[in-house]
Amino acid sequence: MYSTVLSGAIYGIDSYLVQVEVDMSSGLPCFAMVGSLGGEVKESGERVRIALKNMGIHLPPMHVAVNLSPADIKKEGTAFDLPIAAGLLCSMEKIRRSALQGILLLGELGLDGKVRPVKGVLPIIKKAHEAGIERCLIPEGNVREAGRIQGIKIVGVPSLSTAIEYLNTPPQRQDMVIAPFVEEEPLWMREDTEGKRKSLREGGDEPVPGEPDFCEIVGQESVKRAALIAAAGFHNLLIVGPPGSGKTMTARRLPSILPLLTGEEILEVSSIYSIAGLLDEDTPYISRRPFLNPHHTISPQALTGGGRIPRPGVISLSHRGVLFLDEMAEFKKQTLDLLRQPMEDRRVQIARSCGSFSYPADFMLVGASNPCPCGYYPDRNRCRCTPFEVRQYFSRISGPILDRLDIRIFAPQLKIGQLQGGEKGETSTSMRKKVTGARIRQQKRFEGTRLRFNVDLGAGDIEKYCPLGRKEKQLMEELFQSLGLSARAYHRMIKVARTIADVEGRDAIGREQLLEAACYYSGEEAGFGNERQ
């Protein structure tokens, strides 16, 4: 008896549907699985056989063949257990053939017949929805994750026996066996599921619960200002400062002032996390801007994504969020250099012998560093590093990366009076409003182009989108001369000035914005150790 069940698998960031074909015929009794299977897929047969046995269902002594089609793509993961079991039961006529029409099955089986959650459910369900499939039978632990996809019936099953019961119930009464999952969204998220536009305009009036807030940082007004501008234009940010000056605190709070993720973005980010196996029942999807801070000993594979079939790396996990590199000067040069291509293309390409994979990696890079080896420069009471050592410390960060850090700010040492002052600063919500306002201006400006934020502006676009008046041009000339700017730095400064103007709601870039932008950029290097000699 031949039967077929629909399932799905992931390949890199992409997913595809898989036909699980089961055939039972007379012959020498055996259980054969084919279709370019990875190790854990091959083991699936054993799990299924024993799970069925423990339910009191014995496989007949026949020649059993299982094929996963398309048979030329390498398959990985444990999600095929449930569809294989269903296929076998169908071949044994324990499940109605019609019950398996138009339904997609996913799930790992335990030997006791329990259905366990699997990785990558979200992108597979998305694919199924696109293919016009109406129902999915998935592990109970994955339903909230899959619930992000609207317009497809999600049925969570706890065990194989429930699945059989569900499938054997006539369609009109099936919902009484297991009700399809309906997501109840938290209040603060509700308004941004309908689309990008709406979320930008209206979203973000309320604080996101459980997220650290900028008002907890005392003092450091200039760092906060720099963070605001960086967030508004999606500029990369470098914070330099002595230990304990709040570099990490600031970076941690950056996601809270970025506009809330739109429904589309939530799906996008959650898909990556789903593939990486980082979603569970408590965090069934990613609704907040990701924040990742890898340690400086991170391996290149962990950063960009690795493995024979590459799993998403840290840069992909920080897609649409913040990638924070603390102690940036301590990272290996080779590791940091890996960021260059993803920062340019907003995706990372990983080539393997089995194919080339591309993961999204559209992150905001926030670097933090001490100003010198001892960390206290320019406080000469504590720092005895030579100017050479100070300069050397920054030369460890590779030039091209440093070049892409548009905004550089020095976080000064906090004074005890400031810590005890207790005067609360601006809240994240209020800052996010400003950021959102600036984002809307950018969206209008770049309507119909590939550009999204000011940070994407290339040298050619600057002429078009950031026109300068005669006086402003003259000022730029003066700055160019006195700061000894490179052409690249010149453009970067105008980009930042454009964002400052957006934050302040101005159409034209004025003198003040250019001067402030110059303040965030004080030299070709990070701008330290250039003491007068």
Partner: protein, 396 residues
């Protein structure tokens, strides 16, 4: 004794490993000239050196002399030295700096690039920490510039920090300055000061008691410091930690009976500890370049013929008072020109934007941070302030 042949032999003898200043002096005294030493039999050298109870036995040293004699390229080596433009002067020459002759155990040979300091000019040593604060570098610059422009030679060690800055500013003011190195004169140490090294040769001189090619080493610096003190009429310490090499120079200066001045600093600044301690011990307090100039011109008076020069070149005492008023704190008098009024909140030490904002707030000036940043960069463009790195600003 001034002929070039004798100089060549002297150079040879000075370069023999194991022959220090004392041994060299002893040998030249014993045999009359370096040339005679070159020709003397080993046995005699041995006895002469042995008599001098110079630690290492006479035999070993005599052997070393004998060994380097066999090389035979004495004249050629000296010619190479001349080709590099390096000149040498020995204790027995007329050109040997008179001030140095007066100290105990002066170096027997000095190598120099450029010129030797003129005897009739007053000389001040400006010394201090290598890793100095912005305050220190500012003060070193102001003192170096003002004092050099009055015709006083600035003597220092061309090190990073205070030394180099004061010498650079002295040159910028059109004065002359002399650097004493703790290595051969042909080595620019620290390498960062290459530009200064080249400019000093045009407007002053690079001096060293060590044969060219000697790499800088820790144990050579005390002698360098001794010469810095020896070449000067007074020593000014701008910034020093409680324990630092600056103390060697100060001790040497005091030993040589020279005045020591110190620039006071805040008692919380570790880099001012040395200066404040010196003041407690009785050093002169240098509040302005005028203080030093006044003291030096008194010194000049005592020395008779020098008086005229100092007065003509520089300013009289009354004049220097005027300079005083322009010293650090008052230098901000150009406030009318500063439209934003921000200069009042800046200091010679760099302060972060937040600090400046706080200061302004305390003075009752309400400013937006973005306006403040823009205003500060504007001041930098106008050449009145400088951005020292990150968002730190200081007075220029």
């Amino acid at each position: 004794m001034n002929d070039s042949k004798e100089q060549a032999y002297l150079y040879w003898l000075h370069c023999v490993p194991g022959i220090g200043d004392a041994a060299l002096r002893l040998l030249v005294k014993e045999f009359g000239s370096a040339g005679a030493v070159y020709r003397a039999p080993v046995r005699e050298l041995e006895t002469a050196l042995g008599r001098g109870a110079l630690g290492e036995t006479g035999r070993k040293r005599a052997e070393k002399i004998e060994e380097s004699r066999r090389d035979g390229s004495v004249l050629e080596n000296y010619r190479q030295l001349e080709a590099k433009g390096i000149r040498m002067v020995s204790l027995w020459d007329r050109e040997y700096p008179g001030r140095l002759k007066k100290i105990t155990n002066p170096p027997a040979v000095l190598y120099y690039l450029g010129a030797l300091p003129a005897e009739e000019r007053l000389a001040l040593a400006i010394i201090g920490a290598r890793e100095c604060s912005d305050y220190g570098s500012y003060i070193a610059g102001v003192f170096g510039e003002r004092i050099a422009s009055c015709g006083v030679n600035i003597i220092s060690g061309m090190a990073r920090g205070i030394d180099g800055i004061s010498q650079m500013e002295a040159l910028r003011a059109g004065g002359s300055t002399y650097a004493v190195l703790g290595c051969g004169v042909d080595i620019c140490y620290p390498a960062d000061n290459r530009r200064l090294y080249e400019r000093i040769q045009e407007r002053g001189g690079i001096l060293s008691p060590f044969p060219p090619g000697t790499p800088p080493a820790k144990n050579l610096f005390p002698l360098r410091n001794k010469i810095v003190a020896g070449l000067s009429d007074a020593v000014l310490v701008v910034e020093a930690r409680q324990k630092s090499g600056t103390w060697i120079t100060v001790d040497m200066a005091l030993e040589q009976g020279k005045d020591v001045y110190a620039v006071p600093g805040r008692i919380t600044d570790r880099l001012s500890d040395g200066c404040n301690l010196l003041i407690r011990q009785g050093a002169g307090i240098a509040l302005a370049p005028g203080d030093i100039l006044a003291e030096l011109s008194v010194l000049g008076n005592r020395k008779g013929e020098r008086k005229e020069r100092c007065v003509r070149h520089g300013r009289s005492r009354a004049d220097s008072k005027k300079t005083d008023e322009n010293m650090p704190s008052e230098e901000l008098s150009g406030q009318e020109r500063d439209r934003s009024g921000l200069l009042a909140f800046l200091d010679v030490n760099p302060s972060s934007c937040d600090e400046i904002l706080e200061r302004a707030g305390r003075a009752g000036v309400k400013l937006e941070l973005s306006k403040l940043m823009a205003g500060l960069v504007e001041l930098c463009l106008a050449g009145k302030a400088r951005q020292t790195g990150g968002n730190y600003f200081a007075l220029k």
